[in-house]
């Protein structure tokens, strides 16, 4: 038995990190996966791997900051055949610069990709979901959208904004049977965290330190994020909308969220 048959799942930011892992998992669960990413060769690697594994997947280039790109990508997804049942917004960048040193350009870039991107993707995809009788949107937030850490002003602001955008969208489209939820992961052994931690003098030491900071005393595994994504994408969670699911080994429980 698979959980996501008969539907197209768009995974934005599907060429790398958690998006890559989620795209592959959704294909295993029977979805036809649209791997959308600005990194077209990377998206193609993931889509090809899905097909080689017996699943259905295509790569579609998409810059989430450009509405024309997003609209064209969603139209292509809609033309595949099965209804667009799932949208995952996983494209994100981080900027590790404190407020006073942060340039206007970097601020704008992070806000455009991490916050406006999901807005444009939802705006384009939700009407198709409504037409198809419903759907599930998963916005990838972050522990840093719930609690803050020094040195991430743009990222924290974008992910924090995405929390309320998710709730807003959930209320607006609940009567249409489109559910909109957030997964808020802490550091996992993939994606942005591995990329940034690789620049530390001793990456393994830093990773161990960060893993030890949370109650479960370890980093998250991308497959664990995929488990939660399948739950939110599937009919297991049909009464769940507007929620923020922390995937953080208990980290956010220490703070007010």
């Amino acid at each position: 038995m698979t959980m996501l048959e008969d539907r197209v799942a768009i995974v934005v930011g599907g060429a790398s990190g958690l998006g890559d892992a989620i795209a592959r998992r959704f294909a295993k669960e029977g979805a036809t996966v649209v791997v959308a990413d600005i990194d077209e060769p990377g998206a193609k690697v993931v889509a090809d791997a899905i097909v080689a594994d017996g699943g259905n997947g295509i790569a579609v280039p998409c810059d989430v900051t450009k509405s024309a790109d997003v609209n064209a990508m969603v139209e292509e997804a809609a033309s595949i055949g099965p209804r667009i049942g799932v949208l995952v917004c996983s494209a994100a960048v981080e900027s590790l610069v404190p407020i006073v040193d942060l340039s206007d350009e970097d601020w704008q870039r992070v806000l455009d990709i991490d916050l406006k991107g999901p807005f444009l993707c939802m705006k384009a995809a939700i009407p198709h979901m409504v037409k198809g009788g419903g759907g599930s949107v998963i916005n990838m937030g972050s522990t840093l959208g719930l609690i803050v850490a020094p040195g991430h002003p743009a990222y924290c602001a974008a992910k924090g904004g995405l929390v309320n955008l998710t709730k807003q969208a959930a209320i607006e489209h609940a009567p249409d049977k489109v559910r909109i939820n957030m997964i808020a992961p802490s550091a996992t052994t993939t994606g942005l965290f591995m990329k940034h931690s690789a620049q530390a003098p001793d990456p393994e030491k830093l990773r161990a330190q960060i893993g030890a900071m949370n109650p479960m005393k370890r980093l998250g595994d991308p497959e664990e994020v995929c488990d939660a994504a399948v739950f939110l994408a599937s009919d297991m969670s049909t009464y769940l909308s507007g929620s923020v699911l922390p995937l953080d080994g208990g980290m956010a429980a220490r703070r007010i969220v």
Binding site: M1, T2, M3, R24, R25, K28, E29, K167, A170, I171, A174, P175, K177, R179, N214, P215, M216, K217, R218, G220, D221, E223, E224, V225, C226, D227, A228, V230, F231, M236, S237, T238, Y239, L240, S241, G242, S243, L245, P246, L247, D248, G249, G250, M251, A252, A253, R254
Partner: protein
Amino acid sequence: MTIAAGLDWTNLLADKVALITGAASGQGRAAALLFGAQGAKVVVADFNDEGAAETVKMLEEQDSEGIVVHADVSKRGDVDVMVDTAMERYGRLDVLYNNAAVQMSGRLVDCTEEEWDLTIATNLSAIFWACRKALPHLIEGDGGSIINTASTLGLIGSEGFAAYGAAKAGLAVLTKQIAIEYGPQVRANVIAPGSIDTPRFRKVLDKTPGAEKFVEQLKKGIPVRRLGEANDVACIALFLASDMSAYVSGAVIPADGGLAVYR
């Protein structure tokens, strides 16, 4: 620990033992049947022995396994015996689902001391007692999961639920505390149901004048425009009970069709 891709969705709780309080009806019974169908042995705890026996009968009819344990969770002695009985029968405990609760309405000045004490005992102290007794066993096993049922009314204020709201809000923070203190071995999470159409909900409704109109009003305030069903909640509980949520701890998951988002 984590679930391999392409997992078998038919046996998410194989070989696990789950203790569910308030399992004689409603959300507790729905979870008992779903957990059983997913391979768990279910300890059906309730003070309603007849309903609990019926739940076990339903488990057996679907070829699942379960036992009845009599427990009035507002009494510490009952709670201790409940956990001991589960251990004596099955020798292990993997999931503790504290679902039993009382709901008494009443604005603060109308809330009697008896109502206050019973609400706090059943909806908050009972969970402390059960977790305290069960944690050593959950720690012994491989990846224990505690699921505590709070309520939308534990996240937001609502007229007429002084004791209930306080108990449920306290429960949410108690759960986060447990998540942090017992992190590596045991996960602890909260489900916060909104308006769920269960026998208890209907019982309250029967006493409400203009019930039908009340339900229609209620639905208008729920973004998905319907009451929840016991199975809606049970599916979330299954997610939290199983290794599907292996990295989720200290979370509060609403089962409310978006209700709490409005506030």
